[in-house]
Symmetry: C2
Subunit: 191 residues, 2 copies
């Protein structure tokens, strides 16, 4: 498939980089410096789309001829947005509260190419149900995998997979980038 | 976590090997030579459990002091079990028939350790819904990824991810090994 323009991923996430590589996209990485304010009074879908757009536009405005992809992921449980844990205790408490329960993962994606007027923003929601976690499982995970860089404090693509009972929706959305939803928007532009 | 016995994976699948490595299991690979007869008159859950057990026992009977893991995965659509495609045409037709539809993936897992009398067999089912696939998408995928070694003719962990609208259940089951279900059986034996 022919990629008609240069692409930038406006994200520092190694998982998003890995996922875009997986679907044969050629791109460079230029992380944006947008600060996320978790006190912003927005619904989860508006929150992730807002920050996906901010991140994408931050880079797109300096690279008018590039197709710039921004994304933002949060975990939502009991109507509360969970970002990355502040420290190990926060990580433990986050996982403990999600044990045996179903939460949602939202990812917003925004694609912008200024010189052609391309601008689309969308989001994807996936339901994730955890098994009942023992304290030993949680401690083993935190000590071994140090998930402090992850929204909700877990990676569904590492050892923590054994703790995930089921999901409903897009798996890659939980990893931080909804591949199928992205592709359905992106394919309009490829030959 | 302390692994109390040596483990063998009785499977040639690089995906199963990758998944067991992901959850910090130490094992060696010894593929069994069990022949699968797709004309066997069994339900999908009985079919995958039957062959998972056959594969595991084939190796366990020669390695009494090893914990031997066997697994078998099939795709089921319209009450019909789909194994691996016979050739490129079969692959194209399989994906075309699954386009826009929901099918099921069944994996049977069997764990056996002869000298301790450990013997458990279970299965997991995941529902997978494809987007509507264009002929171009299917042809691109088959030419680029040659999915002839895969049940149902796709890998949810490669480019084909963009074609998967949603799943319900365990993602890793679709890759060929239900990590969470396995762990819930396996953890009884670890310290």
């Amino acid at each position: 498939m022919i990629q008609p323009f240069p692409i930038i991923l406006a994200s520092n996430s190694p998982r998003r980089k890995q996922l875009l590589e997986m679907i044969d996209i050629d791109f460079e990485v230029k992380p944006s410096n947008v600060y996320e304010d978790f006190n912003l009074d927005l619904s989860p879908e508006d929150f992730v789309q807002h920050y996906a757009r901010e991140k994408s536009l931050d880079i797109a405005n300096k690279n008018h001829d590039h197709f710039v992809i921004g994304a933002d992921t949060v975990v939502v449980y009991n109507q509360k947005i969970l970002g990355k844990p502040k420290n190990i205790d926060d990580s433990f408490n986050m996982l403990k509260s999600l044990s045996g329960q179903t939460h949602s993962v939202y990812t917003g994606v925004s694609i912008n190419k200024i010189d052609e007027g391309i601008s689309e923003t969308f989001f994807e929601q996936t339901h994730v149900t955890f098994n009942k976690l023992t304290d030993e499982d949680i401690s083993y995970y935190i000590e071994t995998y140090k998930p402090l860089d992850k929204a909700g404090s877990y990676g569904i693509q590492d050892w923590f997979a054994v703790c995930v009972n089921r999901i409903e929706g897009c798996f890659y959305n939980v990893m931080g980038f909804p591949l199928a939803a992205f592709y359905s928007h992106y394919k309009k532009y490829i030959k």
